[in-house]
């Protein structure tokens, strides 16, 4: 009975597949990026994960697809890097409109601060970095992050908080 159910409700249906992609591809990309950095090309990892989902589409019901995608992307990336230091790039001209007429002094200070920030982010654990940046940059709610990372909301809260404290201490040299 279970099999007949999964036969109807698997991800091989093209509409189901593209809906899953629409819903999860960006989160998957951001998760890989914040966790492992850009060196291992998060976009490729997203493709790999979805291709693997397609190959195994008969075995995976749509409800399980999300956790499947995230664990595949996570594992394939982990297989490549062995806890290598992750350096995330920042863009000085992030808010170009507002910073058109910044004076050199300000730009220099900004750069100094961001360099420190970058270093501090590198020193976070993968899990803390991913949780913190998904929350602060992508505006993900704790609940969503908990789903992505496969941990409890309480654990997410703790990670984000400790990440914040660790960043502050490092940046301000406390």
């Amino acid at each position: 009975m279970k099999e007949s159910h999964s036969l109807v409700e698997n991800c091989c249906e093209k509409s189901v597949f593209s809906k899953l992609h629409q819903r999860y591809a960006k989160d998957l990309h951001d998760f890989i990026y914040y966790k492992f950095g850009e060196e291992h090309n998060p976009k490729d990892k997203v493709q790999e994960a979805f291709l693997k989902l397609w190959e195994n589409c008969k075995k995976i019901v749509p409800e399980k697809a999300k956790s499947y995608l995230f664990s595949v992307a996570n594992n394939t990336t982990l297989n490549v890097i062995k806890h290598k230091k992750v350096v995330l790039n920042y863009e000085l001209n992030y808010k170009q409109n507002n910073s058109n007429n910044q004076d050199p002094q300000f730009v220099l200070e900004e750069k100094e601060y961001l360099d420190k920030y970058q270093k501090a982010i590198s020193n976070l654990t993968e899990e803390k970095r991913a949780a913190f940046l998904l929350n602060r940059v992508e505006g993900k709610k704790h609940r969503e992050i908990a789903e992505i990372l496969g941990i409890s909301k309480k654990a997410v809260e703790k990670r984000i908080y400790t990440a914040l404290e660790q960043l502050r201490k490092e940046i301000e040299g406390i």
Partner: protein
């Protein structure tokens, strides 16, 4: 204080601060630095991710995978085809190199041919055999047009192919006459298997198989060797035109028969080494006369 601070920060992170709590949060010593960290985090935003492009890429990869498996199949087919072509050309080259031997006798001439396995073929006049010398070890196969006597050594199946059918033996003596006007096989020793139009006939010693005008008949012979080897032809109830055709294998002559009935039956024999004698053997029983005019023999009723 610390737990309260932590509480405020957590609520701030979750966007769950009430107005009162927000005021308290703003009064924290480190408020600016928290805000700064939160604000500057946006500089580390992940690169733009285009969902549509991503899906397109994935879909094209899925297609590639499918078509690449077809490609592999095509490559496989191509490889098989190439191997077949090479194998076929090698086979062809060997075939070209194969040593096909042809022996042909003129009118009134006979020839004895030794085959690679010591079997012998006595080729009667105006006849031809051909066989593949190099393949003889694996296949004792030869083609006959005309008449020949075979003395076959024991061994693998020995096959004589004619336009009428094939004759197969293991080791024996037999004569095959495969002329345009008739097919005869006589077995002198052992046994012979004849295949004509999918039907199989087996001859034992002294059996005489005749196929004439699509009619098959079997009779016994008293001889131990074919007539032509004794320089004569024996004919039983044969029409005159057939007799004359047979005659022309042994004498290089043409017949003028416009004044005689060539369908008359003849039983008898003629020798191969004496034209006048042979003509008499035929004309006397049929009440005919003959006149030799160089290459031409004119037959007339008496």
């Amino acid at each position: 204080m610390n737990t309260r601070k932590g509480d405020l920060i957590n609520k701030w992170l979750k966007n769950e601060l009430s107005e009162e709590e927000l005021k308290a949060f703003k009064k924290l010593d480190d408020y600016d630095s928290y805000m700064m960290i939160s604000e500057k985090a946006k500089y580390f935003k992940s690169p733009d991710f285009n969902t549509d492009d991503s899906l397109k890429n994935i879909e094209s990869k899925i297609k590639d995978k499918k078509s690449s498996s077809y490609k592999i199949r095509y490559q496989y087919l191509a490889a098989v085809a190439a191997i077949l072509i090479v194998a076929f050309s090698i086979f062809k080259i060997f075939n070209i190199n194969s040593d096909v031997k042809i022996f042909k006798t003129e009118i009134a001439k006979t020839q004895t041919i030794n085959l690679p396995d010591n079997s012998t073929v006595n080729l009667s006049a105006n006849s031809l055999i051909s066989f593949d010398n190099s393949a003889w070890d694996t296949k004792r196969n030869l083609t006959l047009e005309g008449e020949a006597f075979f003395d076959v050594e024991k061994g693998k199946k020995f096959t004589v192919e004619t336009s009428y059918g094939k004759i197969q033996v293991l080791g024996t003596q037999f004569n095959v006459k495969a002329r345009k006007y008739g097919f005869e096989v006589v077995c002198y020793e052992g046994s012979v298997q004849i295949t004509v139009e999918d039907r199989i006939y087996v001859l034992e010693e002294r059996d005489h198989f005749t196929l004439r005008n699509k009619k098959i008949s079997k009779s016994k012979t008293v001889f131990t060797s074919p007539d032509w080897k004794r320089n004569s032809t024996i004919l039983k109830s044969a029409a005159l035109d057939l007799v004359l055709k047979e005659f022309k294998n042994y004498y290089d002559v043409d017949f003028e028969t416009s004044n005689v009935d060539t369908s008359r039956q003849y039983t008898g024999s003629f020798v191969h080494n004496d034209l006048e004698n042979a003509l008499k053997s035929i004309t006397l029983p049929l009440d005919l006369t003959y006149e030799i005019n160089k290459q031409k023999v004119v037959l007339k009723a008496k």
